[in-house]
């Protein structure tokens, strides 16, 4: 456990080092520039939250909450105010203890999301990690739509040394999932990871297809532990909330993977999603390497959210 943690922080720190070129103003500079808590201070704070993609509504809520607490606790010092804010968001982003139970059970993990968020890559990384934990992993290539998707996944499963269940491009994804579930049962796989095609959440028929896939797993493998992860691109803004909401309609989402957090984007929309839908973030993607899919650490995430620019503008 301690070794894993070190790896996590090491990786995250390396990923975050890149954010230093970011042009956004960070909290640190705000806190040092203000000696008292006033409107101007709150405005700056608000701006930082919005610039992190937390969104206007969630930001307003957070700010109202903060102001109330500052009053209640008679806080005068901006530095204390900062800690209060960080603590409250960390609290909110708390990952439940049973978040990774699927790793220990016979489970089916369905991975969904819009186009280009990094579903296939995330599955490849997850497969590799689970395999090296000694799990028997099976992967289903249910993205039968995008050109090259199956080959891409095959490459990842090759690297990870796990089995892939696939049909040809253009075949029925539900059929692939059916095959994969059957194989998972007969081969006694611990974990079945299902890749799906990227679909925009406002496309009715594609969302129905997902519902169908979901039903097949329910029906064919009722005693499997179910985990449904939505992958969100960390650079996405407010639309990620709409995505999460719409995907919730067709599948019971149990967790979020936020990818591409090694850039300058902060992925703050996850805070808004957690607030509104109470879905915990379980993983973050911070790079292209197989180890770059990390278990979510609220404290590190929130601090990174507020970690500002070291370079003067």
């Amino acid at each position: 456990m301690s070794e894993e943690k070190k790896g996590f922080f090491g990786r995250l720190a390396a990923g975050l080092a890149k954010t230093r070129n970011s042009i956004s103003n960070g909290l640190n500079s705000i806190f040092s520039a203000f000696s008292s808590i006033d409107d101007e201070f709150y405005d700056e704070l608000e701006e930082t939250l919005i610039m992190a993609d937390i969104g206007i509504n969630a930001t307003m809520d957070i700010m109202d909450d903060l102001k109330t607490r500052v009053k209640e606790q008679k806080i005068k010092n901006p530095e204390d105010c900062k800690q209060l804010l960080i603590d409250s968001i960390v609290d909110q982003m708390h990952v439940p203890e049973d978040a990774y139970d699927f790793e220990k059970k016979n489970s089916v993990v369905l991975v969904i999301g819009v186009n280009g968020v990094g579903k296939t890559t995330s599955i490849g990384k997850l497969a590799g990690q689970l395999k090296s934990d000694g799990k028997r992993v099976l992967v289903a290539a249910a993205d039968t739509f995008r050109a090259g998707a199956i080959d891409q996944l095959a490459e990842w499963t090759n690297r990870a040394g796990v089995e892939l269940i696939s049909q040809s491009e253009g075949s029925d994804p539900a059929a692939v999932v059916f095959d994969a579930v059957t194989a998972a049962k007969s081969r006694h796989a611990d974990i079945l990871l299902c890749d799906t095609a990227g679909r925009l959440h406002n496309k009715k028929n594609l969302m129905e297809e997902l519902r169908k896939i979901n039903k097949i797993i329910d029906r064919e493998y009722p005693d499997a532990f179910r985990e449904t992860l939505i992958v969100l691109d960390g650079t996405t803004g407010q639309n990620a909330l709409a995505q999460a909401k719409q995907f919730c309609e067709v599948a019971e989402i149990t967790g979020i993977i936020i990818t591409k957090l090694d850039g300058t984007a902060k992925g703050g929309i996850a805070v808004a999603i957690q607030k509104e839908l109470s879905i915990p973030v379980k993983y973050i993607g911070v790079g292209e390497h197989i180890d770059d899919l990390q278990k979510f650490d609220p404290k590190a995430f929130v601090e990174a959210l507020f970690e500002g620019d070291k370079k003067e503008e």
Partner: protein, 454 residues
């Protein structure tokens, strides 16, 4: 949906602005607060929003409100004009060299933006214009990226060039251009790997290509759902690679696409095309005005305001008002109204333009618009079959005249009867309405006979 509540909010603010001849500072400030929220919710970068709001505020305060608009509409009009101006005043295309000279186009962007798909779509687009494109696979990192491009090249029916994953992109591009020359191909489209703008090493790879091979267009592909970070991405790509322009992808989603404004703001480069679907021909021209109203989340209400202005001048309105008061409203006026509706794009377009109807008229499915439009077309035909005398004096229509009109219009006499009855009711209603409006001589109050609420 967020959109609807937003335009409702704006409308609430604007409701309070009614009946004033000139926009005061307080009016504008109240409206701007909502506009600011709208833009932030659309993911326009915070700093861009601030700059934009202050410039619009400056322009709006003290402006006379056009007679044909309410103060609220006037503010939206100004906001929209400024937004459109910022987005670029006109549509721009990627300029290709004349004749058989080779144009080189290099795609670049973050991972998952949609470069590979868009590269193939562009190739298809140029091919349909009679060009001979070549697709070049330079994404040597992502597993199966080359395969993806090869398959898509096949789908659009253009030539494809690759050298596997063991050569540097600059060498692949050089060889590809030779290949194009010997095969008489004149548009070379280079797909590159997705990369982070802050990844120096990967950015260097593209700089090397640019420096060693003449690249005519470097196109930044951006996911339209990008949030606040769009400015960082666009600014860095532009600074390092001097991009020619931008392509926005995944606009068939329901994102408001504020990133478009942020990118335009920080780079000043044109947005060429938008990706609007999964099929290979789902690539469209970029229209700054449409994007502006999408970002604002007001449907195309602004277009409607403009069109209402253009198609219905005040003089006409006053003339009509006079006629209605005297109950002189005849078939000629009726025809005029139908034509006005038509000029505004027909019933469907008008409905789509109204806020609350959702982007692309998503909520319109339950409304039988086609029937409405058919009805309008039929009315027009029937009126066109009347004599001048009949049009000016609706009361002279008797069964024999109606019979002739029905034959001329190719419709049943029942249709003519229904139309005449409908007209009678409209006239009655208008007379009553003119009673409501009349007397006090308020100018410009009676605006549109087909009463549209904003």
């Amino acid at each position: 949906m967020a959109f609807d509540s937003l335009s409702e909010k704006l409308q609430n603010v604007f409701r309070n602005l009614r009946n004033k001849g000139r926009l005061t500072e307080d009016d504008v400030k109240a409206a701007m607060r909502e506009v600011k929220m709208a833009l932030l919710e659309a993911d326009v970068n915070f700093k861009v929003v601030k700059t934009f709001i202050s410039s619009v505020q400056e322009r709006a305060v003290g402006q006379d409100v056009l007679k044909s608009l309410t103060p609220g509409q006037m503010v939206i009009k100004i906001v929209n004009e400024e937004l459109t101006r910022l987005m670029g005043d006109e549509t721009t295309e990627i300029a290709l060299k004349p004749g058989n000279e080779i144009t080189t186009i290099m795609m670049c962007g973050l991972q998952g933006a949609g470069k590979t798909t868009m590269a193939a779509k562009l190739a298809g687009k140029f091919k349909s214009k009679g060009r001979k494109p070549l697709l070049v696979a330079c994404d040597i990192y992502r597993p199966a990226a080359i395969e993806q491009l090869r398959i898509n090249a096949g789908k659009v029916g253009v030539d494809f060039f690759q050298m596997g994953t063991d050569h540097a992109p600059v060498d692949i591009v050089k060889a590809a251009i030779e290949h194009a020359k010997s095969n008489n191909e004149n548009v070379v489209i280079i797909d590159t790997a997705g990369r982070l703008h802050i990844d120096e090493e990967m950015m260097e790879e593209l700089i090397t290509v640019k420096e060693n091979v003449g690249i005519d267009h470097t196109i930044l592909t951006v996911d339209s759902m990008t949030g606040q970070d769009a400015v960082n991405v666009a600014e860095t790509f532009n600074a390092k690679l001097e991009i020619t322009g931008v392509i926005l992808t995944k606009l068939d989603g329901d994102t408001r696409g504020g990133a478009a404004l942020s990118i335009k703001f920080v780079t000043g480069k044109p947005i060429f095309y938008i990706g609007t679907g999964e099929k290979m021909d789902d690539v469209e021209q970029f229209y700054p005005d449409r994007m502006a109203s999408r970002i604002l989340g007001m449907g195309d209400i602004l277009t409607l305001i403009d069109k209402a202005e253009a198609n219905y001048n005040e003089e006409q309105a006053r003339e009509l008002e006079k006629k209605i008061r005297k109950a002189e409203f005849d078939f000629n006026d009726y025809l005029e109204q139908i034509k006005n509706m038509r000029n505004m794009g027909g019933l469907g377009k008008i409905m789509e333009m109204l806020p609350g109807m959702g982007i692309g008229g998503m909520n319109l499915k339950n409304v039988d618009l086609a029937a409405g439009e058919d009805g309008m077309r039929q009315m027009e035909t029937i009126i066109n079959s009347m004599t001048k005398e009949e049009r000016a004096n609706p009361d002279i229509l008797n069964p024999s005249r109606k019979n002739r009109i029905a034959k001329g219009a190719g419709v049943d006499i029942a249709d003519v009867n229904r139309m005449v009855k409908q007209f009678g009711e409209t006239r009655k209603m208008m007379k009553q309405m003119s009673g409501m409006f009349g007397g006090k001589g308020k100018k410009g109050k009676f605006k549109m006979p087909f009463n549209m609420k904003f």
